[in-house]
């Protein structure tokens, strides 16, 4: 509803959307970028896409909040990837960053959708769960996850796929 009004350039609706969602969106962007300046840019760019109707939300295709947070997440991952490229071009190491939450899953069980996901992630097994979380929140590719956890690329790749297949089955309530 708010999203539809925003796409029609309703300033009050946009402000309301910002008031409601910006702390969550900024929290996500900050967790991914670990940099206030980049986090601000990610939320700014994503919400501007919403306003300009450059990104269209289709209510038939899912949940508005999930869609919004995905927009911010993709933008944040882009910005992090660009910064990494610039850093490697400058031949420097990534400096120390804001400490991430020690257990990003600790609050997952607070919503109903989160509870289901938490339960299904628990069934996936610790290793594979870690691969999925690293990829989702750090924006790491298969090979980067493999390097980070010190496991072979093939193990990580198939582990992630099996985790995704198990998650899909578990969340759809079908036997894995």
């Amino acid at each position: 509803m708010l999203l539809g009004l925003c796409a029609q350039q309703d300033g009050a609706a946009f402000r309301q959307l910002y008031e409601l969602e910006s702390p969550v969106l900024y929290g996500v962007a900050l967790r991914i970028t670990r940099r206030p300046a980049l986090a601000s840019d990610a939320v700014h760019d994503a919400l501007l896409q919403v306003w300009r109707n450059a990104a269209r939300f289709d209510p038939a295709r899912g949940n508005a909040r999930a869609w919004l947070v995905s927009l911010v997440r993709y933008r944040a991952l882009d910005l992090v990837a660009r910064t990494r490229r610039e850093v490697s071009a400058a031949d420097a190491d990534l400096p120390e960053e804001v400490d991430p939450e020690p257990d990003p899953l600790s609050r997952l069980a607070q919503t109903r959708a989160g509870q289901a996901l938490r339960k299904c992630l628990d069934e996936v097994g610790a290793d594979r769960r870690q691969f999925v979380i690293l990829a989702f929140l750090e924006g790491l590719s298969h090979s980067e996850v493999a390097a980070k956890v010190g496991q072979p690329l093939g193990t990580v790749k198939s582990g992630i796929r099996r985790a995704l297949i198990a998650l899909r089955a578990c969340l759809e309530g079908a036997p894995a």
Binding site: Y26, L30, V43, V69, P95, T111, G114, I133, R161
Partner: protein, 231 residues
Amino acid sequence: MSDHPPDPFDEDPDLLAAEYVLGVLEPEQARALEALALHDPAIRDSIAAWQDRLAPIALSLAPHPPPPVLWRRLALATGIDRVSGARPGWVWRSAGLWRATTALSLAVAASLAFLLLTRPQPVGQPMLAALSPSGAPGAIFLVRVDADGHATVVAAGRPDLPSGKALELWALKPGATAPESLGLIPASGQRRLIVSDRAGTQLLVSQEPPGGSPTGLPTGPVVYAGTLTES
């Protein structure tokens, strides 16, 4: 593409969509899937379904209030706070400005001309700041803030930027103890920013890790500073 035996999962487009949403696909694979999704509603459905499935991970992160400047940026970018009645032909003839920039180089003069000519002037006096190394003459950055908050930062000199560092601009309000980040600025060329601060605010430039300070406060040395003054 690899030496591994053929993978049965490769035939499952829904799984490819899952890997796309998770962010593990190589960039060229991701672009290919995006191209496919344009013409294939089933893939769009898959992507949306996976976004829904995985979003709770992101939504469960601790919320964090964004800095107030973020809304101001958005309000200005969307035109929600538009200032009407631009005054064309406003002549930038300011004693303060010329005092601030006396005896500066041609590059500075060129930057000023750039600042002058780039956009129509909104109502009200713009403010200016010349940022220089502490205790030394010669502006390295010039900042012009229009009455509606649109600001332009121009590199007028050659900033000191060690390899692997970035420059971040900060505003320190009169009487405040902690500066607020205004964003990253390039070592050459110019960047548009939103600055809501008024005259008397100190603008600082610090050297930070790529992507900016991780803490929200300057972590590296403050290399340039100047004060916003009415022009």
